[in-house]
């Protein structure tokens, strides 16, 4: 029974850490992977909170679909948060 308590505390701390990481990271691709980690941990927490249908939906939509849509957006726009690094890493794009 104490293992459940340790598991829950570990998952909650991992969720807070992933949230801080995904906000503080300058590289937007890594930040999107951080949001996928938040959704994965949230899915396990929904299973522990006796909501298996919500856990299935969160695992399908939050982990897979949202990450794919964010990656498509980053592919069509810029990857880094600050603008100088974008101009340095993407020289073939036409910038103003």
């Amino acid at each position: 029974m104490i293992y459940y308590l340790i598991l829950i505390i570990f998952l909650l701390l991992l969720m807070i850490g992933a949230a801080i990481y995904s906000i503080a990271q300058k590289d937007l691709l890594y930040a999107v992977i951080g949001t996928g980690l938040i959704s994965l941990v949230l899915s396990i927490l929904f299973l522990l909170l006796q909501a298996p249908d919500v856990a299935l939906t969160e695992a399908a939509i939050g982990v897979a679909l949202t990450t794919i849509v964010f990656i498509i957006t980053i592919r069509n726009t810029v990857r880094h948060e600050d603008e100088e690094k974008n101009r340095r890493t993407l020289p073939n794009q036409t910038t103003k």
């Binding site: 949230l42 927490l45 939906t57």
Partner: protein
Amino acid sequence: MDFRLFDLKIVEYSFFITSVVVILIGLYGALVKRSLIKVVIGLSVFDSGVNLLLISVGYLTSGTAPIYSPGLLKGMPLTLENIKKLSEGMVDPVPQALVLTAIVIGFGVTAVALSLVIRLYRHHKTLNIDEIKNLKW
């Protein structure tokens, strides 16, 4: 497998505290950051925190999942009293149904916001909201 939680108040309060902390982190990211993709990431984190808060409010300590199956009756006859007695040990199904809808709506909001971000980038060639000054398209 039995997924019943540890019978303590600390577990419930730790869920509440964690969801409020995640909501505050997402609000900070949506309000303070300058990049538009980071604003949408902040909204997504905010959404996850709200979903966790709603599910943990509806949780009952040592409750079972709100799904009826014949194996739960354990040989008792299928009468109305037995089903009522069985449903008293279940967690609240109403927040789960609401959160199931809110997850799908959150995905729709994220997709529409990212399509607007792509359109802004094609017009202005930047995503910094300090450089997007003129609102004329």
